[in-house]
């Protein structure tokens, strides 16, 4: 990937790395909540295999990719906004829903573990709320800059 890719002037306002990472995470968390609900609704369905969403690994590998001037999570404010692996919002694929094979299948072929789903539900809900608030604060900061503090 071209390291000298400059900031896209058209979408530059919301395309900094933390904002994009946060939006990607919000998508993933929202998908996870839906998946948990679906799992819980199908706890008695014979032959149903529980599902899960994993977006953290995709996000982390995108962040560690060549789009960053420094590896890992050290972010510079003048780092290139190029994040390979994360399409922009218009073409953003929803994080993949995959089969969760961690739990053993019971006699009816169902492997939904209610306790695990409930735990995952509260943790995901909390993180989702927090990420939403962070997005709000971040956008509020932009608003302050635009209004010059008024």
């Amino acid at each position: 990937m071209d390291q000298s890719t400059k900031v896209n002037p058209a979408g530059g306002l919301f395309d900094d790395v933390p904002s994009r990472a946060l939006r990607f995470a919000l998508n993933g968390l929202s998908r996870r909540l839906q998946t948990i609900s679906n799992n819980v609704a199908n706890v008695d369905t014979p032959g149903f295999t529980a599902q899960k969403v994993n977006f953290e690994d995709t996000l982390q590998s995108a962040l560690a990719g060549p789009g960053f001037q420094m590896g890992g999570l050290t972010l510079l404010h003048d780092a290139t906004n190029h994040l390979p692996g994360l399409a922009d919002d218009t073409g953003q694929p929803t994080p993949a829903v995959v089969a969760n094979l961690e739990n053993a299948h019971r006699n009816d072929g169902n492997n939904v573990n209610i306790d695990k789903e409930m735990t995952s539900l509260s943790e995901t809900g909390l993180t989702y709320s927090a990420a939403g608030q962070l997005m709000t604060i971040r956008l509020g900061q932009l608003r302050t800059a635009i209004r010059e503090g008024h």
């Binding site: 993180t127 990420a131 608030q133 302050t144």
Partner: protein, 106 residues
Amino acid sequence: MPISVPPLALAPSHVTSGLKPTEGASDSGPAAAAQTFGSVLQQAMGNLQQVQSAADQSMVQLATGQSVDLHDVMIKTEQANLTFQLAVQVRNKLLDAYQEIMRMQM
């Protein structure tokens, strides 16, 4: 008569404590004061940059699911937000001061 410009309260005290003008500076008053003021401003900007980076980093750590304290992320983000708002207000005041000076009849 030399003009002494008091350092801004923008930067935290550990930044401004080392920046007081030396007593009996041989430079002309305004030059020495301007140098100190400029360096205070620069340090304050550096501080703002640092605070923003720390907030960004903790935000990304939360997004990637790493074990990070939620309160830590929220506090850092809000601190960065407030520091930024303070910087904007200081910038507004500086602009007002500049315009007022430019309006003066010579």
